[in-house]
């Protein structure tokens, strides 16, 4: 389903809201909704884009592709150029990549702003960039045909050459580029049939690998400007707290310290480098006005959430009559689930470099959200958006944190630059990054489910409690309907199984902890809840978990294909596993892609050991199979880190965790073998950055049940007693 601008009255509402929130931001914002969620496909698939915005061909035949998505590891600096090069008939060995500046032509085709997120880079560029490449090819051929005085139809392009076989004429793209650039855009563009693809569908090596293995890749933290000061900020230990008073006498005495300033988010220490800034910050004495955030403690919040989960909430989905369904139940169960706040914990802590002048602001940062950040920076600096330039560096991981809908780290950096009046680099320490909020929300769930005599699900009532990510952001008008944030219930309200009486309800309590999308967003928690509960129903029915799922999935469902492919490759029900090893399975759809994962797990000293994960994915047509493998592996590791170890907790409003010793990612020695199997498909490509994350926690939990008979209903698992 696609919604055009004219048919979408809420777009006007968005523009009004965004004007209030981010004055100066005037953007075409279309968010077509599918199942209540942003559908990230293209709004105008047949549009002709000016190739020169995306392709620069030099006289030496090198081709620079300007990429309008942020490279955070997901491979867009390779996969997006592949789309262009395929249709351009370019010599892949001569392709270079440059990150796009902020401009309307680089807007996301579905979101109407420059943004990298929602696992949407490929699906939203699939038509657009192939058309860009094809347009350029047509113009190059046209330019050559005109020079040679031959019909275009007699010329063809191959490997960055235009060739006229009859006359033997041959001209390189570099030699034709100037003439081609002067021609008007073609009116129609034909795209290749997939059977003619030369690059798409092949495992092409990443273009960014050479610079990432010799240390020359530039991340935000690697930007150094002449005269630049390094700034560390002492922020409130409690969310929402403000500086009451501070004493910087000792801190100012340190060599290298250039100034200490009160800024809206705290006390900024500016120095000649990181170390003097850090040591001076440690010497600050600050009294905080902590505000209501100081009352937040995790145990109390958990109790409140669990209480709320028993009460009626807003109805997100209602099929049949759950109350009647439970009355006819053969067997039923109910359970509570809890998952904690999670920090994104990208390897590169947040940082921003700002060079602010009276009429211009230049920003270097690894952002996923250029248009919003530019608007916010402009507003903060008192400039027009056109006066703000953003250089998107490589991102040392993003996972959603670097697309902040409030532009938190960028606004703060501009506020600091305004006060200091020199180029500044704001560096977040690991502790700042871990304690900086904008977490995956903490959630509590209550589920009651029942089966009929034949073992099939009869009734299902799922109540979800957790903060809305989207509320109070510019996305609210699109993604919150009737008080229900689509991202809070995704994966739960979109449950694919045939259950005649099904109800999903939502509570969205508010508090001072800022929350944000985290790789796979709502699915990061709902998949755990629903896929372990389905496993419980299979057990209740006395059925095999894979067979049970296949028995209650609709006939044409794409879930089936991945489930069967994973089961086949894992040898589900056939392979003899080592003693004390067990398989657990889960399947989930997110970002329009389907992933099944089977985890082989054992327990040793009460610790979960995941030996192997067999994943099957259906993401439509595949651009770069090795890129898909990388993303599924990475998404599994990200999800497994959270499942086994991840938790951000609060004590008197203070975040307890601070660094990698107490907010623990998966380490090398815990890494499972991972196999990724891809379903062959000719469907439109769908998301791949996030869909691998949701199924891993339930797959592991279901394996643990098989080993111990104990259901894991709380994450992280390492805090659960398994014996």
């Amino acid at each position: 389903m696609k919604t055009t601008i004219a048919q979408n009255p809420s777009r006007r509402k968005f523009l009004k809201n965004s004007a209030a929130l981010m004055s100066g931001l005037v953007i075409g914002f279309y968010l077509p909704m599918k199942n209540g969620r942003v559908f990230a496909a293209e709004e105008h698939p047949k549009q002709i884009y000016p190739p020169n915005a995306f392709i620069r061909i030099a006289a030496d035949d090198s081709i620079t592709v300007i990429v309008n998505k942020s490279e955070m590891g997901q491979g867009v600096y390779t996969s997006l150029p592949m789309l262009i090069a395929e249709e351009l008939e370019a010599d892949w060995n001569r392709i270079r990549v440059e990150s796009a500046p902020v401009a309307a032509v680089y807007n996301h085709t579905g979101f109407g702003m420059q943004l990298t997120g929602g696992s949407s880079s490929i699906p939203s560029s699939w038509e657009q960039l192939r058309r860009v490449g094809a347009s350029a090819r047509i113009l190059l051929i046209r330019a050559a045909a005109q020079q040679w005085g031959v019909p275009e139809s007699e010329c063809h392009a191959a490997s960055s050459w235009v060739i006229h076989t009859k006359s033997g004429n041959k001209s390189s793209y570099g030699a034709l580029a100037d003439a081609a650039a002067k021609l008007p855009l073609p009116e129609t563009v034909e795209l290749k049939s997939p059977k003619d693809f030369k690059l798409i569908g092949k495992s092409i090596k990443r273009l960014d690998t050479p610079e990432k293995i010799n240390g020359s890749a530039q991340f935000g933290l690697d930007v150094y400007l002449p005269g630049m000061l390094t700034v560390l900020i002492a922020r409130s230990p409690v969310f929402g707290g403000k500086v009451k008073s501070f004493n910087d006498t000792e801190a100012r005495k340190l060599p290298g310290v250039q100034g200490i300033y009160q800024v809206p988010t705290g006390i900024a220490v500016a120095a000649t480098g990181f170390w003097p800034a850090k040591t001076a910050r440690d010497l600050l004495e600050i009294e905080w006005d902590e505000g209501p955030g100081a009352a937040l403690s995790t145990p109390k919040m958990r109790a409140e959430y669990l209480e709320l989960a028993k009460k009626p909430g807003l109805v997100a989905r209602k099929d049949g009559d759950a109350v009647q369904g439970f009355k006819q139940a053969h067997k039923s169960i109910s359970a509570e689930y809890e998952v904690p706040y999670l920090a994104h914990a990208a390897m590169e802590p947040l940082n921003v470099v700002v060079d602010l002048n009276t009429d211009h602001c230049t920003i270097w940062t690894g952002t996923q959200a250029q248009t919003m950040d530019r608007a916010s920076a402009a507003k903060t600096a008192g400039l027009k958006p056109e006066q703000v330039e953003i250089h998107t560096t490589f991102l040392g991981g993003g996972f959603g944190r670097r697309a902040n809908p409030r532009s938190d780290f960028v606004i703060e950096a501009v506020q600091v630059a305004k006060v200091i009046g020199k180029p500044v680099k704001i560096v977040w320490t690991r502790e700042d990054d871990t304690r900086g909020g904008n977490y995956r929300p903490m959630w509590a769930d209550h589920i009651e489910a029942a089966i009929a005599k034949d073992g099939k699900p009869l009734a299902w009532k799922h109540t979800i409690v957790g903060q809305s990510i989207i509320a109070d952001t510019p996305f609210e008008a699109f993604m919150v309907r009737n008080g229900i944030d689509a991202t809070s219930v995704e994966g739960a309200a979109t449950l694919p199984y045939v259950i005649p009486n099904l109800q999903v309800e939502l509570h969205s309590p508010k508090n001072a902890v800022p929350v944000q999308w985290w790789r796979s967003v709502g699915h990061s928690h709902t998949a755990f809840v629903v896929e372990t509960m389905i496993d419980e129903l299979a057990h209740l029915a006395g059925k095999d978990p894979v067979a049970y799922r296949l028995g209650i999935l609709p006939a044409a469902s794409r879930y089936r294909g991945v489930l069967q492919l994973a089961a086949k490759n894992a040898g589900w029900g056939k392979k003899k596993l080592p003693a004390n090893h067990a398989y657990g399975v889960a399947v989930h759809q997110s970002f329009d892609s389907y992933v099944a994962e089977i985890a082989e797990v054992s327990l040793g000293n009460g610790k979960i050991r995941v030996h192997r994960v067999v994943a099957a994915v259906d993401c439509g047509m595949v651009i770069n199979p090795d890129g898909v493998r990388q993303q599924i592996e990475g998404a599994i590791v990200y999800g497994l880190s959270a499942a086994l170890h991840g938790a951000i907790t609060l004590e008197n409003g203070r975040v307890v965790q601070s660094n990698f010793h107490d907010y623990v990612p998966l380490r090398f020695s815990e890494m499972p073998q991972i196999e990724v199997h891809i379903v062959e498909s000719s469907e439109h490509p769908t998301g791949i950055g996030e869909p691998g994350t949701p199924p891993i926690a339930p797959a592991v939990a279901n394996a643990v049940f098989k080993l111990t008979g104990k259901r894991l209903r709380r994450m992280p698992f390492d805090q659960e007693t398994l014996a």
Binding site: G73, F219, E348, P349, D626, E633, G634, N659, S669
Partner: protein
């Protein structure tokens, strides 16, 4: 004034001797391939070689480098082994976001120098201090095994 060699070049810096070597490498010498990740030897992103051995530069005071040889990712290709490891990383196409990879490569090279043919368990033990949030561990293992193989082949 503290003197040491970095990537073969003699250098002198005038800093507080307690300054971590990481920040001297980055802020003073502007060799930015060595990364800051945690500041407490938990993630390995800052790994460099001090007289050939892998150290976490974020917790190593620059004074300890005095009179010694520091090698960073920028100088790694000076040695045959360094080149071999980088070539294996390229062959396997290891990096995703890439931020941790300098540290991973420095740790891997130090491992292979001490133990040219490590077992999988030895690789796992040696690399356990290097975090990767993108989850490239299996590719790293493949690259180390490949480098060991190539190194053996040239003996």
């Amino acid at each position: 004034m503290i003197s040491f060699k970095i990537n073969g070049k003699a250098t002198k810096v005038d800093v507080d001797p307690n300054t971590p070597l990481l920040w001297v490498i980055r802020d003073h010498l502007q060799l930015t391939g060595t990364k800051y990740g945690c500041g407490m030897a938990q993630c390995g992103a800052c790994t460099v070689h001090l007289d050939g051995r892998a150290i976490r530069s974020c917790v190593t005071p620059v004074s300890l480098a005095s009179g010694k040889q520091v090698t960073t990712i920028e100088g790694l290709a000076e040695t045959t082994l360094g080149k071999t490891v980088q070539a294996a990383w390229q062959e396997v196409d290891v990096p995703q976001c890439g931020y941790c990879q300098s540290g991973q490569i420095m740790s891997a090279t130090a491992l292979l120098k001490e133990n040219p043919h490590p077992s999988e368990a030895q690789i796992s033990a040696a690399m356990d201090g290097n975090l990767c949030r993108c989850g490239t561990y299996n590719s790293i293992r493949s690259a180390i095994l490949k480098a060991a193989e190539h190194q053996g082949g040239t003996k």
